[in-house]
């Protein structure tokens, strides 16, 4: 057990700190989670790429920094930007999912055309995977693309297209071979959101906000070369990026920050003249969550350490999504209880705390428990991949050769 990063890395940390100190005035204000970066945001992103503080391992010829992968340096960068409260590199689905996919399976032309502007924040993407009828069973998707005069003609509907309104482009799974087995008939297309026949409607969730969209396609024509990988191979193309998405959820730092905010809340809030943290039953729940957050934090350090050593994440990694989403939800639940009747205030009410964000989080985190693989799917994955338990006998025969995803 050696939790120091060693002198080489401490030097690197100093460099990052110096960079931040010198350049933080250039960082965009209120970057928040806007889907499309401001001009300042794009300039900042380019500066970060130039110094290797984002897009670090992506080859220079595609607009990255071209460094060798070094997980610890990536971690140090993330730590230092977070500590300084300065926005780090852009994190959107184009960068986290499309770029790795193109790097692995795109043509040389696709890489040259799309990666650099995507990294730079000039081109924003949205993801077209899920459909209303295909949730956990993603491969049952029905959006179709027939070939007609050198184009795919796309018809159907996608859901959960979070940045569809701001996006320039979409990467999208469509069924091109209607008669093939479920996992064999899918292709991975990329096309502009300005293509005629696309309609985006905001999708309101239980939070009362429209964090997502539905996207409708009516005879949307996509030239046949705007495909990544082979026809009918889209399922396998997409799976490379699904892995990247799973990795994004369940950040232990985020959990720790939520917990610290909860502790602060319970110290500050008063009921009947006493601090909420002085109510023993609530305090007991707080400490129990604190222990669990600590466990997930060290579990995250273990995963990081395994990555550095090139070892598989194993069970420690498989359980992250299930446990971290649940824990985040429990933290919000306790915050609501700590606030008592004030815990249900929302929508800018008088006496509301933290802009109603505890309630927003409580509901949105339930969405995260459901989304990206419901808790049930996660348990299937843990039992099948982590514990080598048998698969559920499947009824949707004939079986595809590599039916990913479980129920």
């Amino acid at each position: 057990m050696d939790l120091s990063y060693g002198p080489e890395y401490e030097t690197f940390r100093e460099e990052v700190r110096d960079f931040i100190a010198v350049n933080r005035h250039l960082a965009p204000k209120n970057a928040g989670r806007a889907a499309r970066p401001s001009n300042e945001g794009v300039a900042w992103q380019k500066l970060l790429i130039e110094h290797g503080y984002t897009a670090r391992t992506i080859p220079r010829e595609y607009g990255g920094f071209g460094a060798e992968p070094d997980i610890l340096k990536s971690r140090i960068i993330a730590e230092e930007f977070a500590r300084a409260g300065v926005p780090g590199g852009l994190a959107n689905q184009g960068i986290s999912m499309l770029v790795p996919t193109l790097l692995e399976l795109g043509t040389e032309e696709q890489k040259r055309r799309w990666i650099e502007p995507t990294l730079a924040g000039d081109v924003v993407w949205c993801q077209g995977y899920s459909e209303p009828g295909s949730g956990s069973d993603l491969a049952s998707l029905k959006t179709s693309a027939r070939v007609e005069g050198g184009d795919f003609v796309v018809n159907g509907q996608k859901i959960w297209t979070s940045t569809a309104k701001e996006a320039d482009m979409i990467f999208c799974l469509v069924r091109t071979e209607g008669d093939a087995a479920k996992h064999q008939g899918i292709s991975y297309l990329i096309f502009p959101m300005t293509t005629p026949g696309i309609e985006v409607r905001p999708l309101r969730t239980m939070t009362g906000h429209a964090e997502f969209n539905e996207t409708f396609f009516t005879d949307v024509r996509v030239p046949v070369d705007q495909i990544v990988g082979q026809r009918g191979q889209g399922w396998f193309v997409a799976n490379a990026t699904l892995g990247h998405e799973r990795g994004m959820l369940g950040d232990p730092d985020a959990l720790e920050n939520r917990l610290l905010a909860l502790i602060e809340l319970m110290k500050v809030e008063q009921v009947g003249g006493a601090r909420v943290i002085d109510l023993p039953a609530l305090r007991d729940r707080l400490v129990a969550l604190q222990a669990e957050v600590a466990a997930m934090k060290y579990n995250g350090m273990r995963i990081l350490s395994n990555q550095i050593k090139g070892e598989p994440g194993g069970m420690a990694k498989l359980i992250v999504k299930l446990q971290a989403c649940e824990l985040a939800h429990q933290i919000s639940a306790l915050a609501i209880d700590a606030l008592g009747e004030l815990g249900i205030l929302y929508n800018g009410s008088a006496h509301e705390r933290a802009n109603g964000s505890w309630q927003w989080n409580y509901m949105f985190q339930l969405g995260l428990i459901i989304g990206g693989g419901t808790a049930q799917i996660q348990k299937n994955i843990i039992s099948e991949r982590g514990l080598n338990m048998p698969r559920e006998p499947r009824l949707d025969l004939p079986k595809g050769p590599s039916a990913q995803g479980g129920q």
């Binding site: 209303p132 239980m206 209880d337 009824l395 949707d396």
Partner: protein
Amino acid sequence: MDFGLSQEQQMLAESVTRLLRELSPLDHVRQVAEAGSAVSAQSQAALAELGLPGLVVPEAHGGLGMGLLDATVVATALGEAVAPVPFAARNVMAPLALIAAGSEAQQAQWLPRIAAGEVRFGVGVNEQVSRRDGSGVRCTGGALTGTALFVLDCEEADHFMIADEAGRLHIVSAQADGLELIALKTIDATRSVGELRLASTPAEALADDGGAAARRLIAAGRILLAADSLGAADAMIAQAVAYAGQREQFGRVIGSFQAVKHMCAEMAAKNEPCRSLVWYAAHAFDAVPAEAELVACHAKSHTGEVGRFVARTATEVHGGMGFTDLLGLHYWFKRIGFDRQVLGGPETVREEAAILQGWTARGV
């Protein structure tokens, strides 16, 4: 010996349910909510025809003379329909306050008008449970000063029943001097709560209030919130089962997957005993006063916990659709959230239950 609802009570529940099914389908609930109101005029009017404003008002004063168990049955039906209708505070707690602590003259003055729907009360007793943000109301020389938070059923209220810091109840007109009402917005768009600021506001104290009436009012409110949560949970379970029966994934309806079946079974197994608990709590309120406050605590805290579990699990069974606004499932989710937090969350209420049994002293 008959533990359960009388035929009349079952008919009352069915009347309310049938009426709301007709007048207040989800689309209507949405419409009312999106207009920023927690009161469906049409539902309220139709329910008034059934006699809800006078449900617990003695017949001598023009009401139906029913008990809290009857009111509980109505509350469950309202919760099941997420009905935007003021009920618990306006139609039950306010007249119960007068019955418990009003003089004969006060009862004669107010109860018939309540039963006729001529006066509409909001009720502010929250400070007896939880004082936050400096809330609290003092009574000096027949006037009230201070802040009452989470005044229930405040929309359209023309009068308020307010507890002062000693727990004594007072009637205040919405038109009185020095009174300001600020609407509070909660997750639940189907109920109205407010903050009442009082500055030497003239008030009429209930004449026979020895201080016990507010506790009794809170017990009634807790039982009604528990009943509401029970009904909302019933509706969520039914919707989850129905959805699981038609949604297909992997070539089967998801309701045939053991994991989904077990989620539904767990919801039902936890929720069903709540029905008996709520009924008994209401019965005790009506007929076994020595037990009433304690069982009210049990009903409130236990339905609070079960409600949270059901709200979350039923949403999970619906998958992504449950998370969207499309099916409107969240109206029930939020109604249950309201029921859990108002008039004391589970930990608060359990501590009160311990105090009532002499297991610990009041205060932290």
